[in-house]
Symmetry: C2
Subunit: 206 residues, 2 copies
DNA sequence: ACCTGAACACCGTTCAAGT
DNA sequence: ACCTGAACACCGTTCAAGT
């Protein structure tokens, strides 16, 4: 252990009451992140809004970043689960176009589902302590995509497929965030473009 | 004025000595940003490394963010200038492929030129006070791209062209940052992919 | 056993005093 | 006129004392 700071909750909650409080802290933090912004989000404010003292807050989370980390984890875990489900589909039997549709639709839903996604992504990018979470998740998505690619006809080396998967991931990430900030027709149009560009990327590496 | 915080240097430097010191602060900050990271970058450290007291630092910059803002401004200004130069080319006479090549090559050079580009982009994303800089710049690039598009055969409404330009900007931004983190063949491959995807995006909206 | 909040450490910023 | 750095405000974090 030594000087490495803990980023996980101090201890696993045993009682329902504790679990509720942790959940409450996460919800309050996610809400405040949207309301007061990232900079004015203080631990004392979070504690006050959650109806407890700072001390109690620190009883459940070892530091401020670990709260954001827990929110990020929930989101990334959901995403990981979704890619596993896609990977379990009978992809070899499908058209590439259909697979791309499923990928984009599912990913888009993952982004739209998370409240305050823009702030969360910003936090993951800005806070060094959250970088490892983001990186591990990226690698997980990339590994799964590298597994999907040969099933749609991209029979390259694993290294090459991982490389393609990274390009896929970064591109969709950027464009899905744009779509999250748009409404109605425009948002749908961006999804269409994303779909088409992914299709284009895959065709190029066939 | 009232309670709005100043983000520009306190006063325009009149003497060469002052200009040198401002330049020194910017260089030291850019270097430290890479060396100690974003979080451990304190004003006292910057002042010490620049061989002056905090007070003197604050004589030239009203606050910490304004230093990062000045670095960001320099980069964005360079970029703005580059897009103006491209816009001044006889684009109507060129093939779309050639135009895309020039765009990607030039943009890639803008990204590679900036020392610590990843930290800078992170700062622009994370610090709300720098958001307006980024937004104004985005709009400038988008306006110029919207002007270039009809010259390569994309004759849509201004709104539609701006929309295409945003997709172009976000996509290239994401992928050029990826390329900055890669080396040699891989980096070149990412540039190739970016080129191809932009080409694909433009063809789609022809 | 769990909670509180004053106290501590640290960093951004200021300003009275020095040259 | 310019510079210094102790002092102040504020926020993350801790821990002795309370229930």
């Amino acid at each position: 252990m030594e000087s490495t700071r803990r980023l996980t909750p101090r201890r696993d909650p045993q009682q329902q009451r504790s679990k509720d409080r942790i959940q409450l802290i996460l919800e309050v933090t996610a809400r405040l992140m949207d309301e007061v912004g990232f900079d004015d989000l203080t631990t004392i404010l979070i504690a006050k809004e959650a109806g407890m003292s700072v001390g109690t807050l620190y009883h459940y989370f070892p530091n401020k970043h670990s709260i954001l980390r827990a929110i990020a984890r929930n989101w990334l875990d959901h995403w990981d689960q979704v890619i596993l489900e896609i990977n379990a589909l009978p992809i070899e039997t499908m058209e590439m176009e259909e697979v791309v549709n499923i990928l984009i639709d599912t990913f888009a839903r993952v982004y739209q589902k998370q409240k305050g996604i823009l702030h969360l992504v910003r936090a993951m990018f800005a806070i060094p302590e959250l970088k490892d979470l983001d990186e591990r998740h990226d690698e997980f998505i990339i590994a799964n995509m590298a597994n999907i690619l040969p099933q749609i006809g991209i029979n390259k080396s694993l290294t090459d497929r991982k490389y393609i998967a990274r390009t896929y991931l970064e591109m969709t990430h950027a464009l899905l965030l744009v779509a999250c900030q748009q409404r109605g027709t425009r948002a749908r149009q961006t999804l269409e473009d994303t779909r088409e560009l992914v299709y284009c990327l895959f065709l190029r590496h066939l």
